[in-house]
């Protein structure tokens, strides 16, 4: 391999670290994959009984990455008009809804208490918080100027939730191991 090719390979390897893990999506229909990002989400908030996932991505929407650690999980969606990270979905163990207004839950939010805190309609900026046993899912919408607020309907269709107990059962069945946390048998430590 000549010098320029070696240089190009090194640059490509290094540039692979320049991006977020955009390729790994928490798909609602794939909860039993032992390597699923949903398991990592569940480990991020062991008390959470519900976990956010991607149901389907309407045309124009794109999963742009996630950040998951022991403080919680955050997912981002991009849209070709609403902009980069137009929607941010966070999973945490607690949340503050004191300034929000409670609204009826959607079809995917049965059993949860849902709050909305709209800040602006044009461009659309607002927060929707779903509170459930052991955690909250906080969805923040920050659409770009000129994008229609109706896109929020598409965004809500893209994001859904999965019950933690389904993952716990899947891991137990596939690996005979315990996904520790809510809905699982007690774990050591």
């Amino acid at each position: 391999m000549n010098r320029s090719r070696r240089f190009a390979v090194v640059v490509l390897i290094l540039c692979s670290a320049c991006t977020t893990n955009a390729g790994i999506q928490p798909l609602c229909g794939d909860p039993y994959d032992p390597a699923s990002i949903l398991i990592l989400e569940a480990q991020a908030v062991p008390s959470a009984t519900q976990l956010p996932c991607i149901a389907e991505l309407p045309i124009g929407w794109r999963f742009s990455g996630s950040q998951i650690d022991d403080d919680g999980a955050t997912l981002w969606l991009d849209h070709d008009r609403a902009g980069i990270r137009a929607v941010e979905v966070g999973l945490t163990d607690t949340c503050d809804v004191s300034s929000a207004v409670e609204v009826p839950p959607g079809p995917d939010e049965i059993g949860m208490r849902v709050y909305q805190d709209p800040e602006s309609l044009d461009p659309f900026v607002g927060t929707r918080t779903a509170v459930f046993d052991g955690g909250c899912i906080v969805t923040r919408y920050r659409f770009a100027d000129g994008s229609e607020a109706a896109l929020v309907v598409e965004a809500d269709r893209a994001i859904s939730t999965i019950a933690r107990r389904e993952l716990v059962a899947g891991v137990a069945e596939e690996l005979q191991l315990t996904l520790c946390g809510a809905g699982a048998p007690p774990c050591p430590g």
Partner: protein
């Protein structure tokens, strides 16, 4: 009928010592190139482990088996959990925390900058970025969750395989060992300390349930392997030793294994026993490692001093960068084509020495080229001017002035230019002027180059005398117009750095003095613009931009 052609047996120009020995096929060279046994073992272990990871990644049965094994190990560690032990383990886990790793990295970078160890700095930063890129890519390719079956009681980020904190800690600590700690027992001891730190951090992370055993092992292996490979390839200890002595990076360490190899190589290839190796003239030399050797002919028992220059790949690289820099700064100055190999480097100097000796010029007699490591290190051995002093420290009489000017005249007549006329390359031995370091000699140079040689020689001679006297002597060998041409050409970077420094120290404007004495001639332009210069400049700017972009985009590993 043709006459029978009889040829005399050729006599070597310089008699070789006794017992010259040809290295048979298959025998190792005097200084074999080695990655080092520990480096090979680490690379083999890491490659084997990476292969195992790939196999496991595509085989679900093995995946489940590894998961169960890791879970069992995690549960065993968790079974030891107590409140006080958890507190201790949380502190120990800080060894692999972001802030500890960042602190070590910045302290190392700062130290390397203070000691101006630029190559180690670049390799250190490069190793960190490569490790971060590799571990990040592997993590996203494998996307393995955190340990199952235990409660996680420590801090973590993203997927678990490989363990990025342990990988980052390993590449950093090994980097510190190779950047800051001199080769030898202290570094060996440091490696054991590093192993201890890594094991401690790994145990703490296993106890806290944030890493799997296999993830921790893979992370540590990856970090160590990246650092070892980077430093052994790009800053090998024998070429770029970590020392805290003053000296130029271009000068190789001639002790230890290399010292033994030099002695063996000279014994086998030139037939002399080496009694002493002493670096000389290091201050005036950046392109090689100059040595004075005391040798003995085993057959006659005679001892003599010889001069040798050791060339290695880093000198070729330095020459390439130097010429690239000059091309960008000034354009093509007729001499900016770099050498591609060390062999060519040393062959060229041997050729120029022999050529100039053939012409009767006062250069050292070449004794031959010695191979130290094939294609990587060679040494050229030549006559040592015993008792000679640098012209800057010698008494300059009319005889020496005439010799210097006639030397330039002889080179002009032979179609040569030395191109590095400076005090460090002109020696005076018993009133006779000697010219050394003929590496930059050019055959059929441009007239500009020849004029610069004359200008620089006159400046060197005038440093220890005066411009009027040197000018008067110059007119015996050169016309006033030729002297005027010399000082129209000899400006700025056309003079070697050492000569410019000495002129500055003398406080005299010798160039103006000579220009006043010679007929008027407008200065020649040094800046030469060409397509090549523009392309090279743009290429360097682009490469710098990419390098800067890589550092910025990977800034998270430092900040």
């Amino acid at each position: 009928m043709s006459e029978a052609i009889t040829q005399p047996t050729p006599e070597p120009r310089h008699r070789l010592g006794a017992e010259v020995r040809r290295r048979p096929s298959g025998e190792a060279p005097p200084l074999p190139r080695q990655l080092g046994s520990t480096g090979k073992v680490w690379l083999a272990i890491t490659a084997g482990f990476a292969l195992l990871v790939v196999v496991v990644a595509v085989n679900e049965t093995m995946q489940d088996g590894v998961e169960l094994l890791d879970s069992a190990i995690s549960r065993w560690f968790a079974s030891w959990r107590t409140s006080s032990l958890t507190d201790v383990m949380e502190v120990l886990a800080l060894l692999a925390s972001r802030w500890v790793i960042r602190a070590i990295r910045w302290a190392t970078i700062g130290t390397l900058i203070v000691f101006r160890r630029w190559r180690h700095l670049v390799v250190f930063i490069g190793a960190i970025i490569v490790e971060a890129a590799l571990s990040y890519s592997l993590m996203n390719a494998i996307h393995r969750p955190r340990p199952l079956g235990v409660s996680i009681v420590g801090s973590w980020q993203e997927f678990a395989m490989p363990s990025r904190p342990l990988s980052g800690l390993a590449v950093t600590l090994i980097g510190v060992a190779y950047c800051l700690i001199p080769h030898g027992r202290i570094r060996d001891a440091a490696k054991w300390v590093i192993a201890g730190v890594l094991v401690t951090a790994a145990i703490a992370r296993l106890y806290l349930g944030v890493d799997h055993a296999t993830g921790a092992l893979f992370g540590a292996l990856l970090g160590v392997a990246v650092a070892l490979t980077a430093f052994r390839w790009f800053a090998p200890n024998d070429v770029f030793p970590v020392t805290y002595r003053r000296g130029r990076a271009a000068h190789l360490d001639v002790g230890g294994a290399r010292g033994e190899a030099i002695a063996k190589a000279i014994k086998d290839q030139l037939g002399y026993r080496v009694l002493e190796v002493k670096p000389v003239g290091l201050a005036g030399s950046g392109g090689s490692t100059p040595l004075r050797l005391r040798v003995r002919d085993e057959l006659t028992g005679e001892e003599e001093l010889v001069f040798a220059k050791l060339y290695a790949k880093n000198h070729v690289r330095a020459d390439r960068w130097y010429k690239l820099g000059r091309t960008i700064l000034y354009g093509k100055l007729e001499d900016e084509t770099p050498f591609q190999t060390v062999r060519r480097f040393v062959e060229y100097e041997d050729y120029t020495l022999r050529l100039m000796e053939d012409l009767g010029l006062p250069v050292p007699e070449p004794y031959g080229v010695v191979e130290i490591t094939p294609e990587r290190e060679y040494m050229i051995v030549m006559e040592f001017f015993d008792g000679a002093v640098e012209i800057g420290e010698a008494d300059i009489d009319d005889g020496v002035i005439d010799q210097g000017l006639k030397l330039i005249r002889a080179m002009w007549d032979a179609g040569l230019a030395h191109r590095d006329i400076k005090p460090a390359n002109l020696m005076v031995q018993d009133g006779n002027l000697k010219l050394i370091d003929v590496f930059f000699v050019q055959v059929r140079p441009s007239p500009w180059r020849q004029a610069v040689d004359l200008g620089n020689m006159m400046l060197v001679l005038a440093l220890r005398s005066d411009a009027e006297r040197v000018y008067e002597h110059a007119l015996r060998s050169f016309s006033p117009e030729e002297v005027a041409e010399a000082f129209a050409a000899t400006r700025g970077i056309a003079s070697p750095t050492q000569l410019r420094s000495m002129m500055k120290v003398s406080g005299r404007d010798l160039i103006a003095d000579f220009q006043a004495l010679a007929p008027h001639r407008p200065p020649m332009k040094i800046q030469r613009w060409s397509v090549r210069r523009v392309v090279l400049t743009l290429g360097v700017v682009l490469a710098a931009f990419i390098a800067f972009g890589l550092v910025v985009s990977n800034w998270a590993v430092f900040a």
